[in-house]
């Protein structure tokens, strides 16, 4: 069995780690966030004042707000784009590395956008 095949280490660990972390966030945080943000006012769980501009910018532009951005936007983005990337392969629509670039590239760009908007809020 003298197979002298060379194995190339896959770069998946990076994407998979982000995907998994994102998966945890989506499972743990997103349901609560949707319930509160979307249905909170409507269900009377939150007062109008709770979501006021002042409170929200105070909360979000707090230095720890970046964690929030990471947990509910950036990681879920990578989670989603990872699944889309594999889904395209599953559907036999795209096998190329182009699909991979597009998927993870857009996750990166949107993440940068989120960070940028946050920085904008914090410093401007």
């Amino acid at each position: 069995m003298a197979a002298t095949k060379r194995y190339q280490r896959s770069d998946e660990p990076i994407w998979w780690s982000l995907f998994s972390a994102g998966g945890v966030c989506v499972a743990m945080l997103i349901p609560a966030l949707i319930v509160l943000l979307v249905f909170g006012p409507w269900l009377g769980l939150l007062s109008a004042e709770a979501l006021s501009y002042q409170r929200m910018s105070a909360l979000l532009y707090h230095p720890l707000g970046v964690l929030f951005i990471g947990a509910v936007i950036i990681l879920p983005l990578f989670h989603a784009m990872h699944r889309i990337h594999h889904g395209l392969h599953d559907l036999q629509w795209a096998h190329s590395s182009l699909a991979k670039w597009l998927c993870y590239g857009s996750a990166v760009l949107l993440s940068l956008l989120a960070l940028g908007l946050w920085l904008l809020g914090v410093f401007v």
């Binding site: 998966g23 945890v24 989506v26 499972a27 743990m28 945080l29 997103i30 349901p31 609560a32 966030l33 949707i34 319930v35 509160l36 943000l37 979307v38 249905f39 909170g40 006012p41 409507w42 009377g44 769980l45 939150l46 007062s47 004042e49 709770a50 979501l51 501009y53 409170r55 929200m56 910018s57 909360l59 979000l60 951005i69 509910v72 936007i73 879920p76 983005l77 989670h79 989603a80 699944r83 889309i84 594999h86 889904g87 599953d90 559907l91 036999q92 949107l110 956008l113 989120a114 908007l117 946050w118 904008l120 809020g121 401007v124």
Partner: protein, 133 residues
């Protein structure tokens, strides 16, 4: 030659052919409504950075029926995702306590408890108490 192996190929719609595959695809598809919700958040983030009027506009936008409907879908999707994800966790990371593996059902229950706690914490953080006074 008597050998002529027949090479099967995966039909394009293979994922419709078995309940297990449909379940899998549904799980993968949970990210589509999720993306919409993430988009909503990004939009909110943008609006917040643009000042109060714009933020109020976003809050209004979020209460549009079609936005709410799509986000309701995102909620269902995230719950379904959580359901599948929590079940996988004990498989991927079996926890051992004193030489015994923790029963999977405990770990699943623990995670749902986590969801509940997160909800309460977030509610508190967002000012849920305001509503109660």
């Amino acid at each position: 030659m008597s050998r002529k192996p027949y090479q099967p190929s995966m039909p394009a719609n293979w994922w419709l052919k078995h309940p297990a595959y449909r379940f899998y695809m549904l799980r993968e598809a949970t990210v589509l409504p999720l993306l919409f919700f993430i988009g909503s958040l990004l939009y909110g983030l943008y609006c917040l950075s643009q000042g109060e009027a714009s933020w109020l506009g976003w809050l209004n936008w979020m209460q549009q029926p079609w936005v709410m409907a799509l986000n309701a879908l995102a909620l269902l999707a995230s719950l379904f995702h959580a359901f599948t994800f929590f079940r996988l966790f004990p498989q991927v990371m079996p926890l051992r306590l004193g030489g015994r593996t923790l029963p999977a059902s405990w770990m699943v229950a623990g995670q749902w408890l986590g969801v509940l706690l997160v909800f309460l914490a977030l509610w508190w953080l967002l000012g849920g108490y305001h509503g109660s006074n």
